[in-house]
């Protein structure tokens, strides 16, 4: 279908298409990638600062200190979403802030905010996980399968 259409174009149309394609703004793959890398690394460094802070302040080991650090990052992600700042950062940083747990927090908090108008029970309560639900579902399904493999074949 598409090919047929292309064949039926005359010389002038072809020329125009060529010109239009040249002028089309190209998606900034490289700068998107660099910004995502930089901000993803930055979020990890902030997370590491919190991890070390909890580890040294409350005398935890690294594994334990990861939990309050994750909670802190989720708090920050949710608050920035509430203040309307997260979207602005995400427009610039792309996956740099949506791949870390801050993005998970953003997807939960933004859904909670968006559906607030439908009430606290049917809106906030039940639609909070509209976006983040699939992460939990597929994570649990994966962990269930792997857990079963371990329980049956390895232990």
């Amino acid at each position: 279908m598409v090919n047929k259409k292309k064949k039926s174009l005359n010389q002038r149309q072809k020329k125009y298409q060529k010109m239009a394609k040249k002028e089309e703004p190209k998606p900034a793959y490289l700068s998107n990638a660099l910004r995502a890398f930089f901000f993803g690394g930055l979020v990890a460094i902030i997370g590491q600062i919190f991890t070390d802070f909890y580890r040294l302040t409350f005398d935890m080991d690294t594994q334990e200190a990861g939990n309050p650090a994750v909670a802190t990052m989720i708090f920050l992600g949710a608050m920035l979403t509430g203040l309307g700042v997260f979207d602005k950062i995400a427009r610039f940083a792309g996956a740099g802030v949506t791949v870390p747990v801050t993005g998970f927090a953003n997807s939960v908090a933004s859904a909670a905010l968006e559906y607030k108008k439908e009430g606290f029970v049917f809106g906030v309560g039940s639609k909070m996980f509209t976006l983040a639900g699939s992460v939990i579902t597929f994570g649990v399904v994966t962990a269930f399968i792997i857990g079963l493999i371990y329980a049956i074949f390895i232990f």
Binding site: Q48, A71, A151
Partner: protein, 121 residues
């Protein structure tokens, strides 16, 4: 103060690498952010099942614990460690053992945001 400064470098590199992978899939495939986050979670779970994700955490600290893939790993570690202790039923009882922090704080803070803020625009 025993802060391992080197881990900050690896945290930056590994945390950046996860975000980079996500961004490349966003730009070069037609997958939605939801697909990519779910995919990374599954990837983290599989790496966790192979025992590789824990090594990555030892090596890169928050570079490995901050990306969403660590959520998949934590689910798997919870399920496996409880399965080792109490058999097959442990897969069910241990599933959320390690991830309860993340899920609970996401619910609580998102709820607070919905109480105190209104959507903009």
């Amino acid at each position: 103060m025993d802060v391992d400064w080197q881990i900050y470098i690896f945290a930056f590199l590994v945390g950046g690498a996860f975000a980079l992978v996500g961004q490349l899939f966003l730009d070069f495939s037609r997958l939605s952010p939801g697909h990519i986050l779910s995919g990374l979670t599954v990837l983290g779970g599989i790496l966790g099942g192979l025992g590789l994700y824990e090594k990555l955490i030892d090596f890169a600290g928050a570079g490995a614990t901050m990306p969403i893939s660590s959520f998949g790993n934590a689910l798997v570690q919870g399920a496996i460690s409880e399965a080792e202790r109490s058999g097959i039923i442990g897969v069910l009882t241990g599933m959320f053992e390690l991830t309860s922090t993340g899920i609970t704080s996401a619910i609580i803070f998102a709820f607070m945001v919905a109480v105190f803020f209104n959507p903009r625009g």
